[in-house]
Structure formats: structure tokens, C-alpha cells
Symmetry: C2
Subunit: 223 residues, 2 copies
Amino acid sequence: MKAVVLLSGGLDSYTAGAIARRDGYELYALTIRYGQVHAVEVDAARRVARALGVAAHVELDLDLKAFGGSALVGEGEIPKGRDLDDEGEIPSTYVPARNTIFLSIALGWAEVVGASAIVIGVNALDYSGYPDCRPEFLRGFERLASLGTRSGIAGARLEVLAPLLHMSKAQIIREGVVLNLDYAFTHSCYDPGPNGAPCGDCDSCRLRARGFSEAGVADPLCR
Amino acid sequence: MKAVVLLSGGLDSYTAGAIARRDGYELYALTIRYGQVHAVEVDAARRVARALGVAAHVELDLDLKAFGGSALVGEGEIPKGRDLDDEGEIPSTYVPARNTIFLSIALGWAEVVGASAIVIGVNALDYSGYPDCRPEFLRGFERLASLGTRSGIAGARLEVLAPLLHMSKAQIIREGVVLNLDYAFTHSCYDPGPNGAPCGDCDSCRLRARGFSEAGVADPLCR
């Protein structure tokens, strides 16, 4: 059983990949450098891919900066000190159609290697804010995959696995502890300093800090 | 009314874009350089974008060679002298999930500029062979777009326009003549010579030649 795992270098995709590996999948790691300001994630993705013992790791560049439209690709400021429980609006870090694009590219590789699954680390925190992290979107993508690929029309089923979908950050971290993951390999900040140090105040840093705190685990990046 | 048009530099996407322009759309041209062997298409895309008077033209690199799996990205030989009416199998020029990937990237830009449509030049000849050129796939993508974008969940509808879907190559060329298009700007060969000259024998060259012949029009590239 093979699975393409979308690996960002953050702790979610690391944990999602580790769960798929535990469940018997051979992993093909795909990292998409989409012009994000936080390119330091890419180094983290390489460390994580090595730690997961993937069969192959492909890094692709896709410069979504050409479109603009998101703080994550350099348009406007990264929001800081936001209320993490604000479900009122989609944050400016939303990248238009990002998961549709990422899953589509993963689908191309999945078809080439004969993978029956794509693993994505979206979770409850994401899908409260981002439309393309919701379960109905992921099911819709599976339906599209069955229509748009040679293997799909031949009857092969492609599953989108989102094992973290209903987990909080603290639950994800506890699961990672059980799986013996080293989160020192990961990187989460939307707006790292020149030396790669996390800012500590963007949504991603704050969610990470709260997750480790609630899990009762020390973040190895903060030692 | 704005539309993102996927512009390859071939005559199909040029004609599809011209039809959308005639129908009142302001065009945003998107060319994706996916590692195709026939990079000369990209120069053609620039000429065509200029001829269409597009509001903007974005060229993106996405190296699908990293996955392999298609003769169009350098894996194996480009088939030559094939029976054009052979509907028995999907040709080796099929690029896994290509249209899913292209439409997804177009969707990202469409959301940023507020476009209500994506224009793609797939046609009857394509959809007899490629799964991701069939009407049911295109409708499936529209459904996914409504699930996976901020504008989609707010109720905006994204249409995938494929005005050539049921047209033969000859009908497309006759439509282009009516629209006063200059097909000298275009390029169609899957396997051009070092100087960019069409090989004359790949599926794409043969379909083009047969289309011009059946339309009773001289191909300006063959003057």
C-alpha cells in the first residue's frame, strides 16, 4: 500500500504521515514550495521526510506569489496576536484554492506510483476556518479523482486520508508522543526571523504553544 | 465578467479564449510550464496572449517531470504515426491528473481576481482519449470549486467553460476563421525540432493537418 503524503515541515503533516506509516502505508513525501514567506519550512520538511523513512521525497516549486491574495505569500501583514477561537472569518493567511492545488498535484504523483491514498494533515482547527479543510471538500476531491484519472475511470479508488481531521493540536501532539516523533524536526511559524526562529505571535506559533501546553509536553523548539 | 483562460499556445486554447472574449469576458491568461518537452509552446502562448488582448498573463513553472509517467514530460518516446481514430486506449501523452492540476491552479487565480469562469480548450478529440477532458469531469470540478474556496462557500459559482468540447478540429478552425484569428501565432507539435519546427508526425501535428485539410483552410505554419 502506497500513499503520497503532503509534507510541509510542520508538526501536523509529520504526525499525519507517521499515522499512515503506522497503518501500513509506504510513504511518498511531496513538499510544494509555493512561494511562502516561511521557506524555512522546506528544510524542516527534509528532516521530517528522513525521520519518516519515506520511499521518495519530491520537492516542487509553484510560485503562487504570482497571484497574490494571501498574507502567506507576502501580500499584507501576517496577523499577530489574533483571537485563536475567532471563527467569524477566514484569516488572511488563507491561500486561495491551496488544498485543491496541493491535492491535485499529489494526485498526479499518486497515479504515477500507483498510490491508493493521499495523506493531508488538516485538522479541526483548520477546518473551522479554511473552506478547503472541511470533510465535505475532501470527499468531493475523492469523487473528482475518480473522474479525472486513468486509474480512476478504470475503477481504482483514491482515498484522501486526513487522520487529524477531528483532533485538537493537543491531541495531535499526544498522538505524536505515542508514535515517538521528534518535533524538534518541525517548524510551524508563519513569519520566522532571519535565522529561522519562530516569531511566537502568529496564529501558527500561538496554536503550537497552546497545543504543547494543553498536552502537558514541552516543545523541543523552546528548550 | 472575468475569466481565467488556460493558454497553452496551441490553436485550441487560442480559439477557446477568443470565444470567451467574444462572449464578453475579460481574459486572464494562465500558462503553466509543466516541463513539457515542447517548451516552444510557451513562446506561442505569449504571442497568443498578446493577440487576445488579455488583462494579464501569468506564466508558472511546475516541474511535473519530477513525477514522470508521461511521454509529454520526457518519459519514453512521443508516439508517431498513430491511428488518430484509435479510441481503444489512452495515449502515452496522457499526463497524470494534468487538467485537475491546471484547473486547480486556475481556480486559485480566479478567486484572487474575482473571475466567475475558467476557460479550457479541451475538445471532442481529447475527451475521447483523456479522462480529464470529459464533460462529467469538468462538472465535477465545478462542484469541487464550490466546496473548496472562500468565494464558493459564500455562494459564488465558478463555471468551467469548454466551448470546443463538442467540436472537431475542423470546426474549431472554421470558428477561428470567423473570429479572424491568426493561427500563425500558435504551435501544436509534441516533438518539435531544435529550431521549433513541427515534426509533422505526432498525434498533435496529424490532428492539426487533418483539421486544416477538412476545414478547407491553409495552415499558416505550412506556408
